[in-house]
């Protein structure tokens, strides 16, 4: 008996490994744990209802799916999917756009900073070895 190797196979595998319960089968969604913390942070109870988290999970997966499909529709003209497509998609939504561009530039700066540290590390090591060699 082989399981189907689809994206949702993780769910079905978890369900089949449990002893079959009459009412609630354990089907953790894609983002169960993260969503619990996120919903609390955004205003829900410290312990959100499991049905709410499950529904939120479905909503989120549907949202991501539609988002990626739309980006593909736009990006297909360019041949490859890129961040620009997503930025175009949320251009009407000012908070999302700002937050996204801010995080991307933050990411860029962090990368530069890390590169700088590594570069400095190399220089330090080189000068130290030169001194040690005399």
């Amino acid at each position: 008996m082989s399981n189907s190797a689809a994206g949702t196979s993780s769910k079905t595998r978890a369900a089949s490994s449990q002893p079959s319960e009459p009412s609630s089968k354990r089907r953790r969604g894609v983002f169960h744990r993260e969503l619990q913390h996120m919903m609390y942070g955004f205003g829900d109870d410290p312990n959100p209802l499991p049905e709410s988290v499950a529904l939120m999970d479905d909503i989120v997966v549907e949202y991501i799916t539609e988002l990626v499909h739309k980006a593909q529709d736009i990006g297909s003209q360019r041949g490859k999917l890129s961040v620009e497509d997503f930025l175009y998609l949320i251009r009407k939504d000012a908070p999302k756009l700002n937050r996204c561009t801010e995080l991307l530039s933050m990411n860029e700066e962090l990368k530069q900073a890390r590169k700088l540290f590594e570069h400095d590390d190399e220089n330090l090591r080189k000068t130290f070895e030169d001194d040690a060699d005399g």
Binding site: G7, V30, F31, E34, L35, H37, M38, M39, Y40, G41, F42, G43, D44, D45, P46, N47, P48, L49, E51, S52, L55, M56, I59, V60, V61, E62, Y63, I64, T65, E66, L67, V68, H69, K70, Q72, D73, S76, L81, S82, V83, F86, L87, I90, K92, D93, P95, K96, N98, R99, C100, E102, L103, L104, M106, N107, E109, L110, A113
Partner: protein
């Protein structure tokens, strides 16, 4: 719920000097009807969406010490006045992320490829987190309208999702239009 020290009576866009009057309980009409904690969430989210902040902001400070933007200073002054419950909720809000591996796997499966550029995974995570925030906040507004309390129930989420679709902030299920590729 403490009423005394609520730093959020002033609307988010107001200038900095209004921070000093913390004695004034309810100056904001819509927000004053809600609990303090939710007030925190809504105005704080508005602030956060407009301001530039991230978890690594401390590194940012170290890089540019003389350049502290007033918005960040204002945010710090607000955060320092949080109650315990507000602090915990704020911490959850800042820390909650979608795991990179999961997001990459999901986007790759939608895309039909095996790997996805890291930036795209990052962008989708950011956008989706804010979308979650919108849905939860709209659900809370709906609960206020219906005068219900307690944890958010699926019916609230469904209605919130429907409202966002009407506003155009959530996508409707589109029939794949790729007829001629």
């Amino acid at each position: 719920m403490k009423q005394s020290k609520d730093p959020f009576e002033s609307p988010p866009e107001s200038p900095i000097q209004t921070d000093s009057d913390t004695e004034d309980p309810s100056s904001n009409s819509l927000i004053s009807q809600l609990s303090n904690t939710r007030t925190t969430i809504i105005t704080k989210n508005n602030k956060d969406e407009q301001e530039e902040e991230k978890d690594d902001m401390d590194i940012y400070f170290a890089m540019f010490p003389a350049d502290v933007p007033p918005k960040i200073a204002k945010m710090h002054s607000i955060v320092s006045q949080f109650t315990d419950q507000q602090m915990r909720r704020y911490e959850s809000f800042r820390r909650a992320k979608f795991t990179k591996a999961q997001m990459t796997r999901l986007v790759a499966s939608i895309n039909g490829t095996n790997t996805v550029p890291e930036l795209i995974s990052l962008a989708v995570s950011v956008i989706t987190k804010m979308f979650v925030g919108e849905v939860v906040e709209t659900a809370r507004i709906i609960m206020e309208e219906r005068r219900e309390s307690g944890p958010i129930r699926p019916s609230h989420l469904r209605e919130a999702h429907g409202r966002l679709k009407l506003e155009g902030k959530a996508f409707k299920r589109t029939v794949p239009r790729r007829l001629f590729r």
